[in-house]
Amino acid sequence: MIRTLKTLAMVAACVSFSGILALSIWTIAGQPAPVNLPQLLSENMARSGVEHPVTAVLLNFRSYDTLLEIGVLVIAGIAGISMAKTASLEDPELRTSDSLLYGLQRWFVPLMLMLAGYLLWAGAHRPGGAFQAGAVLAATGVLMRLGGVPMDFLRPGLLLRLGLVLGFTVFLLVAVASVIGGDAFLAYPPELTKPLILIIESVLTLSIAMVLLALFVSAPVNDAEDPEEGSS
């Protein structure tokens, strides 16, 4: 009885939350926004080095966001592999002999690799880019992993850690190079904008895929443990 009442109260609270929010959205939608950012964006597109506006925002106008966001991804990766203490890659349960999966893998893996490459390449002038390509690459890796491909590079070691931070490092180096050139942090030199963005996107794709795969692989657990301090 109490539980039902509490559920009802919670439902009422959430419904009224939605209602107030929707009302607020309705009110705001009725008034024009004072700043027209899309127009400002299109005026500056020529200086961004790429033709696709979303990519321009992500990797040029608001590149600091993207830099920090890759940092968030790397943090998640680090925290994930810190939980995977020893190599849990030999887990026999993962080596499925599912023929369906095997077939899927034979046909899908090359196709998905091509798709990832295409998405990366397309990012400069049409929808696509590092995130999507990285995600597809990671999905390919997950598929291969489920199919029992050992993938030794995911063992917690220097190679994995290098892979995790590769994209982040290159991004960071480009950012600081512009300071050495006497400009603001993250300002690309005008003539190099396009190649720099392409390089950043390629390494980001690899790193994003690495982090997501590492998190997928480190999810299985083992028995290692450590008493926390002061446990009495």
Partner: protein
């Protein structure tokens, strides 16, 4: 009423649904699903609301891409933690043992 506004309003309702799940469900994986649903709702508001009058707006679209990556990072980390927590304690929620020590209502 335009299509983006419709989606923004749907986003508001999704936020409510996700909030309910996040607060009310106890199973950690369900909480995670609820978090993702609420996140989708926020993203819909973020893109739908400015596109109601201005047409296609790449800035919030880029923000949502960033947000999606942050969300998957958080989700993946949470899954790792939940699996290890379950492995060690056998619990799938935070409400079981050990009981809270301060006696305030949950």
């Amino acid at each position: 009423m335009t299509a983006p506004l419709l989606y923004a309003l749907a986003g508001a309702i999704l936020c409510g649904i996700g909030l309910f799940g996040l607060l009310w469900l106890s199973h950690l994986l369900r909480k995670l699903v609820a978090f993702n649903i609420m996140g989708s709702g926020v993203f819909l508001v973020l893109v739908g609301l400015p596109q109601h009058q201005g047409g296609q707006d790449p800035v919030p679209q880029a923000l949502v891409l960033t947000g999606i990556v942050v969300a998957i990072a958080a989700t993946a980390l949470a899954v790792v933690l939940i699996r290890r927590y379950y492995h060690l304690s056998g619990l799938t929620s935070l409400t079981g043992e050990p009981a809270s020590r301060e006696g305030a209502p949950e």
